[in-house]
Every structure is written in structure tokens, then in C-alpha cells.
Symmetry: C2
Subunit: 365 residues, 2 copies
């Protein structure tokens, strides 16, 4: 197999996620939920990636307890492509793990794209185009980030500022990254939107194994040392023991802070028109679902709305939800918990989860 063919998607499917409680739980994280249709977000992500990557070139990094369920949802991905993440250590460790395995399999020329498992993209054909462009740029030695065109002054995302233009790559404009900007306050977000040249950081990255290896060696040498041992152990009987021995000592860090912010030769391709959403709240779920004339979106439950507008009802089959004169609410009905809050306060679900943690109500988490 030529190294040029070794182009991989690495899907990060280990997250927990509390923002879609009570539907999402520790043991049933967001990417495993069929939130927007019959398929789970993970399945939809894999289907979308298959437009660029054949199944044997998709690695899934997940937790031990999700591995079997995810493999069952995508049986066409080889079992050895599911990499267990022994415990949450952040995306830097996940990227390091995947890079170690790919270096063992294909060497430094292997290309990897990193993707979250739980995002929505409404225009998959455009996505395939920009992913191909990003891989092209990565092949030239750049660490490439896919930037999402901001549609409002969001304070919930990091931003990427464009620098020097790198020209058109397969029809997509590319830029050197001037800087990464952490989640801003509202005023800063408005100012960046007005100024232009900023994208949202959606956590999608592209690089050769050699380039990311080099950056780990320079910026996170402790993780790099572990990665080198993992590379050696891959495919040997020592693999599992090595992973179990090294993993607990890894620094918990994101790849954004640990690598990207201090990396050399970083590029961004601002992607317009992907209809991207990280589905980061129930309000985002409402926005993505089809609605009736009154703006109510209903999933699973039969619903009856009298002068009720703009609500999301995420219910259970066979349980009627009757709404009268309530507007812009989120109603999530699960067997053991019911959540009601205004869409505009959808972010406060985290506080509910925190309160349940404080009360020790583990069964509901």
C-alpha cells in the first residue's frame, strides 16, 4: 500500500456531553443519539465521511464501553479501526493516539483529518469539497483547520483569524492562521464579526502524521514520548498493556491549546455554506428540525398544541404532549426525567446536570 493512499479520517467519539440532558447521559452520549432522524449523529458522521474516506480508512477513537455499540452501528468499519481511549484526557491525547497508530501503519506521509462525531452538516457535498481541499493543503505540510463562517456573534466558540492568503486550493480560498482566539465575550464577538476575516473553530483538523508528530515533539514532548512507545507497541501483544500503562499519565489538554496555538505553518480554509451546527443545545436541535406552521418541532411524541408557538417537544412514542399558550419552550420527555425550559436558556441544562451531580443523583446522569 502506497503512503499516498494512506489518507484517514479520525473520528473523535469519546465525548460525554451534558448539554442535551436528559436525552444524553454519560452512558448514552450525544453522538449515539438519533437526534435528527433515524440514524445517530455518529452514524450520520460516518456516512458523510464515506464521501471522501473508504470505511477501512476511518479510525474511531472512543471509550471502551461505547466501542461495541458504535461498531454495531457501523459494522463495515474494521474492528481494529476502533481505538479505545482508556479515560478522557482531552483531544491532544486522542490525536496523539491516532497519530501513533497511523505512523505504525503507514509512516510519516500518512494524512489524517480529525472530525468530531456529533456535528451536523446540512450540505455534505460542499463538505466533501472543502475536506479534499484541506487534505491537499495538509499534503503541502500545513496544519489545516476548517473554519466555519460565523453567522452570529457567538460566544460559545473559539475563533480563527485569517492572515496571509495562500490562494485557492481546489476552488477554496486558504489563509495562514494569524491567531486562534478563545471563546470571546459578546462585545469582542460582535467586533470580530464586524471586522471580518474570522471563522469559528469547529475542531476539524488536517495534517500529515509527520507534521503533527513534529509538533508534539516540540510542544508536548511528554505526550510525544508516550506516542513513540505506542507506535512501537501497535500490532504487538504489548499494545494493550502499553496503552494502559501510559495513558493515565498523559496531560489532559485539547489539541487547540496544546498544539494549534503554538504550531508553525498553520492554515485555515473558511468554509461557507456547510450549514454546520455542533448541535450544542436543545435550541440548536429545534433550529435543525422541521417545524409546523406555528414553529413547533415535535419528535417521537404525539403532540397537541393550542396557541403554542416555537416549542421543541422531544418526547416518547405513545405519550401525548399537550401544550397550551406556551411559547419557545424546550420540553424533553424521557422515561425517568422531564425537562422544561425556554429555548433561549437552553445552555442552562448544564446547571441542571451540575445540580444533579451535587445531589448525588447518579442514576440521572
Amino acid at each position: 500500500m502506497s503512503s499516498l493512499d494512506a489518507t484517514y479520517a479520525v473520528v473523535m467519539a469519546g465525548g460525554g456531553g451534558t448539554r442535551l440532558w436528559p436525552l444524553s447521559r454519560r452512558r448514552r452520549p450525544k453522538h449515539m443519539l438519533p437526534l435528527l432522524g433515524p440514524d445517530s449523529l455518529y452514524q450520520t458522521t460516518i456516512t458523510r465521511l464515506q464521501g471522501v474516506f473508504p470505511p477501512e480508512r476511518i479510525l474511531v477513537v472512543t471509550t471502551q464501553d461505547q466501542r461495541e455499540a458504535l461498531h454495531a452501528q457501523t459494522p463495515f468499519i474494521p474492528a481494529e479501526n476502533f481505538l479505545p481511549e482508556p479515560a478522557p484526557r482531552g483531544t491532544a491525547a486522542v490525536v496523539g493516539l491516532a497519530a501513533a497508530v497511523l505512523r505504525a501503519r503507514h509512516g510519516d506521509q500518512a494524512l489524517m483529518g480529525v472530525f468530531p462525531a456529533d456535528h451536523h452538516i446540512g450540505q455534505p457535498a460542499r463538505f466533501h469539497g472543502v475536506v479534499r481541499a484541506a487534505l491537499t493543503l495538509a499534503r503541502q505540510g500545513y496544519l489545516v483547520t476548517l473554519g466555519i463562517e460565523p453567522t452570529y456573534p457567538a460566544t460559545g466558540y473559539g475563533y480563527i483569524q485569517q492572515g496571509e492568503p495562500l490562494g485557492q486550493i481546489d476552488g477554496w480560498p486558504a489563509y495562514r492562521v494569524q491567531r486562534f482566539k478563545e471563546k470571546p465575550d459578546a462585545a469582542t464577538a460582535r467586533q470580530m464579526l464586524a471586522q471580518g476575516g474570522f471563522s469559528w473553530n469547529a475542531g476539524m483538523f488536517f495534517w500529515t502524521v509527520g507534521r503533527i508528530w513534529e509538533e508534539f515533539a516540540r510542544q508536548m514532548p511528554d505526550v510525544h514520548a508516550a506516542m513513540a512507545q505506542l507506535q512501537q507497541a501497535w500490532g504487538t501483544p504489548a499494545w494493550e498493556a502499553t496503552l494502559a500503562r501510559l495513558w493515565p499519565h498523559l496531560r489532559t489538554q485539547t489539541v487547540d491549546y496544546g498544539i494549534m496555538e503554538g504550531a508553525q505553518q498553520v492554515a485555515v480554509i473558511p468554509a461557507q455554506g456547510l450549514e454546520w451546527s455542533d448541535i450544542g443545545s436543545w435550541d440548536a436541535v429545534w433550529a435543525l428540525l422541521p417545524k409546523d406552521d406555528a414553529g413547533n418541532a415535535t419528535v417521537a411524541a404525539p403532540a397537541l398544541a393550542l396557541d403554542a408557538r416555537g416549542n421543541l417537544v422531544y418526547g416518547q412514542a405513545g405519550r401525548l404532549v399537550a401544550l397550551v399558550e406556551v411559547h419557545d419552550l424546550v420540553v424533553v420527555d424521557t422515561p425517568d426525567a422531564l425537562l422544561i425550559l425556554p429555548r433561549e436558556h437552553a445552555q442552562r441544562v448544564r446547571e441542571v446536570v451540575r445540580a444533579l451531580q451535587d445531589r448525588g443523583q447518579e442514576a440521572l446522569l
Copy 2:
């Protein structure tokens, strides 16, 4: 047995009631629900009446399918005191049925008080006092209504206007009734409250069997003819067949319109301080329940409220209800239906029930 001892409470426990849907259903009417505590409203009504009436002097008029359940809730009431109402024909027929049975048992001198099975009275000792006064006045030949002191300009109740004073009866002031006034519009209600001398009609009546018999003969002769046949049949093998034969032909009418409005010698005792409620809406349930510091009342369900005020959560054991930033809502969670509406629109539950009827969703009614 002396006729003087023949003083009966007639409890009307046949109603359906849709205003507390989805908890109340056709087969589980409001008076059978333990709405405000461990006992059903019916049980609480019987307990309250036992302050004046011994169990063998309590008649319960109910439907055939509720008879067994109600007897099980109050086994100390003799089985023969449960009178089956073959089909809903309004309170006039119910009163006529009870009067026929009491006339057969005790003759014209028997006294009867008529009570709904599903009202709340916060001050039972005062209630006992006013009931005794009403019976005293009834013994003098009056048809007596117990008037409820209006606390706001309600449009959901009929009103009773006081006429000529009849003096103090056992310490309670009594008046001739000047007129009954149907449910008024808001302006009329406000005007009556400002004017004074009006009570709410709570459907509690007191009279001798002879007096009500006479009024039926004069005002509802068709019903009176049936009552006379029922009186003859009581205690004979022909009772059930007679009831089954006559009942379907009875006019559907309330005792208010059919008898009281046109009756002679009608009195009212305005009862202050009973803390009466007909629990006619979920808002009324909220008003009667204990509340937390934020004004939330919670029944059965464990609840978690974050910046949520004034809500009623009527839930199910073991199902958490989490509320964030929602205020003055009614949330009623039952196994097959969930209702959410503002307390101030609690009356609109009827429209939900009507919509379910229109859709033919019998299982939810």
C-alpha cells in the same frame, strides 16, 4: 325510628369532569383522585360530612361503574346507601332519586342535605356549624342553599342574591333568596361584588323530602311521576327494573334551573370563612397545595427548579421534573399524557379534551 332522626347527606359522586385532565379521566373522575393528599376528594368529603351525619345516614349517588370503587374507599357506609345513577341526567334527577328513596324509607319529614363529592373546605368545623343551621332552617320548610362568600369577581359560578333577612339561625344569618343569577360576565361579576349581598352558588342544598317533593310535583311533574314510581319500587324486587325503565326518559336538568330558580320559600345562608374551593382548575389545585419559597407546588414527582417560580408540578413518583426559568406553569405528568400550560389559562384544559374528542382519541379521555 323517628322521622326526626332521618337527616341525610346525599353526596353527588357521579360527575366526570374534564378540567383536571390529564389526571382526571372519564373512568377516574376528579372526586376519585387523591388531589390534595392521601385521600380522594370523595373520601375527604365523606370524612367531613361525618361530623354531622353518621355513616348510615349518608347516601352516595354515583354511576354503576364507580359504585364498587367508592364503596371500597368508604366501607363503613352501608352498601344499600349507594344509589346507582344509570346515566347522567343532571342533578335534578339525582335529587329526585335520592328523595324517592328517602320518602320510601322515612316519609316526608326526612331531611336531606345535598353535597358535591369533589369540593374542598379548609374549615370543616365552621362547615359543620353552617350545615346544622341550614338543616334547622330546612326543618322550618325552607329550601336552603349554602352560599359561599365571593372572594373575587368570578365568572365561573352562579350567584345568589340575598333578599329579606330571616334572622340568625344557630348564629348564622339567613336570608330569603331574591334571585339566582347565572354565571355572569366579568363586568356584572365586579358590579355584584361591589354592591354586596351576593353569594356564590356552590350546589349545596337542604330541605325536607316533603318540600322538595312538592316542588318537583309543581315544576317538574314528569320527573315527579317517575319519583313516585321509584318510591313504590324501593325495597322491592322491581326496584332495578323500574329504575332502568324510567331513568332514560328523565329530562336532563340541573336542580338549580329545574327547581331552585322557580321554587317558593327559598333561603340562603351566606357562609363566610369556610375556605371553600370547587377545585375547578389546575390553578385552584396550585392555590390549595403547600409551596416552596419560590411558589412552586410539587406533587409526587421529585422536582428540580432553577429560577423557576409559581409552578405546579403534578407528576409521577420516580420521574424527575426539571424546570429552568419557567414561571406560573401547570405541568401535569401522567403515564400516557403530559400537559403544559400557564396557570392563568388553566381553564383551557377543556379545549384540549375537546380536541382529543374531535380526534377520536378515546384512550386519553
